[in-house]
Amino acid sequence: MASGHRLMNILIGAILPLAIIALWEFATRERLVSSFLLPSFSRVVLRLWQDIVSGELFMLAGQTLLRLAISYSIAVIAGVVLGILMARVRFVRWMLDPIVSIGFPAPKIAFLPIFILWFGVFDTPKIAMAIVACIFPLIAGTWSGTQGVDKYLVWSAENLGATRREILVHVIFPAALPQVLTAMQVALPIAFIVVIVAEMLTGGNGLGGSMIEGARLADSARVFEDLIVIGLIGFAFLHGLQIFRRKILAWHPEVLQEKN
């Protein structure tokens, strides 16, 4: 009874969140916690509904998502290209290696005020900062994946008559794909965090800007509403990437194992 089993799992999994929501509502109703610190769950949901209907939420979310989409796409394309170049061209590897290895663990967000100095307070510094922050895992993951291709696979392809270009496309690219996808999954939350922080710092619009304004104006319902929306967006994106990964890597042992 596979479907009965799955239903059971869903129910069990829902216990914790439901309990938390119930506790939340109870605590605020009984005034155990001041309604300023923790607006009741129902109030937050109401606010959420109002903002969806008025379109306000879509505007805010749209701004944040647009910045996220632009910075992430640029970072993925540039990061993958640079990673491949690093693996194939010695000069590029020599040039980028110290930069990547120093830059990767460094908290690049410290440069946000500098980016604001350079690019102003609108979209550019947010996008630029997000690109800089999330490109490192993409370069490193692509480099590692491209480099680590099993030489016997390359030899087999050569043996079967493939040209250098064919080997790059038929063998090296698919072999590196798992690691590239992992890097993409790591980079997405980073870009998201940075866009939100950038929005908060520049007091701009977008979900981050709305959250910080809510905090400054003591509008706690807004803060929690935005938090929930941000959480849902983040979850949706990462889940989407996971599904994308399972489709593309249908041949991979890890995916096949999951099926069993």
């Binding site: 069990i12 040039m95 908290p107 967000i109 410290a110 604001i116 939100i196 908060m200 941000i230």
Partner: protein, 248 residues
């Protein structure tokens, strides 16, 4: 020694390029203060004590928040992994919380705790919690049952099995989670300090920038970046030491 010099030469080249671009006026000195002027300001800030006081304020918060996160997170993670039912209950919530950008917690903390010291620590603590919980959780789950069974058949009771087998087996995943938390703690520290603090490196960078002291701003940004880098490297050394049995 020679290999290190060759490896880091591009960095030196970059610095030289920077200096050239700034000095020659190719890029305005306001936007890109020269390497030398940044270095001078760095020296001044250190000598004047501002650098040290802000660094210590930041590091105090970081260590407190991260330390608390490691302790609470590990315990929580192991607890969640303890039984199949608890795992099933916790799994969806963990999966949902994982992609939540932890910086979104900052305004929430501001509402709860304002802008002070404890607020910063709380942000770091809450943000670090999840990667560590996940590390401990996944690590504990990955402990091979054959190892546990071997221990039990050699006379260990369930507590001993937990300490002698499950925790060491969970260590690689847990330590990997701590490394993620370390990087995250720096990001959260700097972000929350920039947004509202009276001391700390994030505050210093924003403060100097607002005041037009761009060379100083660059200097402080580099200092905290360097500290973050050094912390990761230091952690790696600890990580490899603790897991040295794997390399052998």
């Amino acid at each position: 020694m020679k290999e290190i010099a060759i490896r880091y030469t591009p960095v030196v080249l970059l610095l030289a390029l920077w200096e050239l671009a700034s000095r020659s006026g190719l890029v305005s000195q306001d936007v890109l203060p020269s390497v030398t002027s940044v270095s001078v300001r760095l020296w001044q800030l250190c000598a004047g004590g501002e650098m040290l006081s802000n660094i210590s304020a930041s590091m105090l918060r970081l260590v407190s928040g991260l330390g608390l996160g490691i302790i609470v997170g590990s315990i929580l993670g192991f607890a969640l992994a303890s039984s199949a039912i608890v795992q099933k209950m916790a799994q969806p919530s963990l999966t949902f919380l994982y992609p939540l950008p932890k910086s979104a917690l900052i305004p929430v903390i501001i509402i709860w705790l304002g802008f002070g010291h404890s607020a910063q620590i709380a942000v770091i603590f809450l943000g670090c919690l999840l990667p560590i919980v996940l590390g401990a959780y996944n690590g504990a789950r990955s402990a091979e049952s054959t190892l546990v069974w071997s221990a039990r058949s050699l006379g260990a009771n369930s507590i001993e099995a937990e300490w002698h087998v499950i925790i060491p087996a969970a260590l690689p995943d847990l330590l990997a989670g701590v490394r993620v938390a370390l990087a995250l703690s720096f990001v959260l520290l700097i972000s929350s300090e920039m947004l509202g603090a009276q001391r700390g490196m994030g505050f210093l960078i924003a403060f100097l920038g607002d005041g037009g002291d761009y060379a100083g701003m660059f200097a402080s940004a580099f200092v905290i970046t360097a500290i973050g880098f050094a912390a990761d490297r230091a952690y790696l050394a600890i990580y490899h030491y603790l897991l040295r049995y794997r390399e052998a």
